[in-house]
């Protein structure tokens, strides 16, 4: 096979890979098509990965923590504070879910308006402002998700410690410390009225 034929074959495969990648992410279709045609051996694995939906944050997670806290409460009355922390986590999760929904709506709206927004310099400026707005929502969502995970991790640690504290006084003192820290953090996230 001559060089020209090899290059042609390479570019044809690249075109197929690039077009598939562009189809998957239409917001960056031009970029995907370009890099897909030229560097398709790098991007082939992307075609074999199934696009995944965002991680669901089911209510089960908090419900099971709430149940566990309720089960331990008669033996360890001090863990009442956990309920408040779980409530704060639920609030944060609801906020993150709202931001996620808002982001999806705004991204869809931007995709629909793309042709109109590419018309001239002024509309391109509007587009940039909307992209910046999306970035703000994305950052806020990520922050809320990280806070949620942090609180849930602390609650889980406290529940583990609560189990251990039934067997030793040291563990019970450590539990008191963990609960105090969790209460402080919950105060910051959800000030008492």
């Amino acid at each position: 096979m001559r060089m020209e034929e090899t290059v042609l074959l390479y570019l044809l495969i690249g075109l197929a890979v690039g077009a598939s990648l562009a189809w998957r992410d239409r917001r960056r279709a031009g970029l995907w098509l370009t890099v897909g045609v030229i560097f398709w051996p790098i991007f082939v694995p992307l075609l074999f990965s199934r696009p995944r939906p965002l991680r669901p944050r089911t209510a089960d997670e908090l419900d099971s923590l709430r149940d566990e806290a309720a089960r331990l409460a008669p033996m360890l009355p001090e863990i009442d504070g956990l309920t408040r922390a779980i409530g704060a986590a639920a609030g944060i999760r609801a906020g993150a879910d709202e931001l996620r929904r808002l982001l999806e709506t705004q991204e869809a709206a931007l995709s629909a308006d793309e042709p109109a927004l590419a018309r001239n310099e002024r509309t391109r400026e509007v587009r940039e402002a909307r992209v910046a707005d999306l970035e703000k929502i994305r950052t806020a969502r990520d922050e809320q998700e990280a806070r949620y995970l942090k609180i849930v991790s602390r609650v889980r640690e406290a529940i583990t410690q609560a189990h251990l504290s039934r067997f030793s006084d040291d563990a019970r003192r450590e539990l008191a410390k963990q609960l105090a820290r969790l209460a402080d953090e919950t105060d910051i996230l959800e000030p008492r009225t």
Partner: protein
């Protein structure tokens, strides 16, 4: 907000990934493990790597074209198509070598028993490529300064000038070698995908294969660079 709740921005934008490449490689490895983020991580790491390599090779092309010529260095002129030769050789060569090695990298992973997808292996390899790009961008001002110094001082007759040109020719490859550690760390990090009971017994095998992985790229990269350069000489 208390320090305990400080949130690190892990969004795989080009700016964030650049910062993570330089300062927080552990964060980058953890982002590269996230299947939702992998497509953007792969794309942006490739762009970072390409930007660094292209910038260096463009500067090197200008140096080759403007500085006194050397017999053993291919001639480059800013007025014809030969100007594209170094840029295309380094960008296509470096990424091409990675593309050639990727399937082997994946099978090495399977052989080591780690649970890594092809996409994850690609992300680790591109982390190394992005690192190469960053190193080249960092070295570029020093290199240009040294060459310009020699030209301004009229010291291009001495042995230092051909030595520096030789360094420039090899620098992308040498920078690639410097990032083998990134590849090694990324591969060894995959031990985390194994169950705790097996991780300890498999770790030596994974390390051995990580070394083999790095050596494969070391061997393939110069051959690819040479092959691309030879082919480009025929058409440009």
């Amino acid at each position: 907000m208390s320090d305990e709740l400080t949130v690190v921005d892990l969004e795989p934008t080009i700016a964030n990934l650049t910062e993570m490449t330089l300062k927080r490689p552990d964060d980058l490895r953890s982002v590269a493990r996230d299947e939702e983020l992998q497509p953007r991580v792969v794309l942006n790491l490739l762009l970072i790597g390409l930007a660094g390599i292209a910038l260096f090779s463009m500067a090197f092309t200008i140096i080759l074209a403007c500085a006194p010529p050397l017999d053993w260095v291919p001639r480059v002129s800013l007025t014809d198509r030969s100007v594209l030769r170094p840029v295309l050789t380094y960008t296509i060569g470096m990424v091409g070598a990675l593309g050639l090695c990727l399937p082997s990298f994946y099978f090495y992973g399977l052989l080591a028993g780690v649970r890594a997808s092809m996409l994850q292996v690609t992300a680790i390899s591109l982390h190394a490529l992005a690192n190469t790009g960053m190193i080249l961008m960092g070295l570029l001002p020093i290199y240009v300064g040294a060459i310009l110094g020699l030209i301004v001082l009229g010291a291009t007759d001495g042995p230092l000038y051909p030595f520096l040109i030789g360094v420039g020719l090899l620098l992308p490859y040498v920078a690639g070698l410097a990032t083998l550690r990134v590849m090694y760390r990324g591969f060894v990090d995959l031990v985390r995908t194994l169950p705790e009971a097996r991780a300890e017994s498999r770790a030596p095998m994974v390390r051995l294969l990580a070394v083999a992985w790095a050596m494969l790229y070391t061997a393939v990269a110069p051959v690819t660079l040479w092959a691309v350069r030879t082919q480009l000489e025929k058409v440009l």
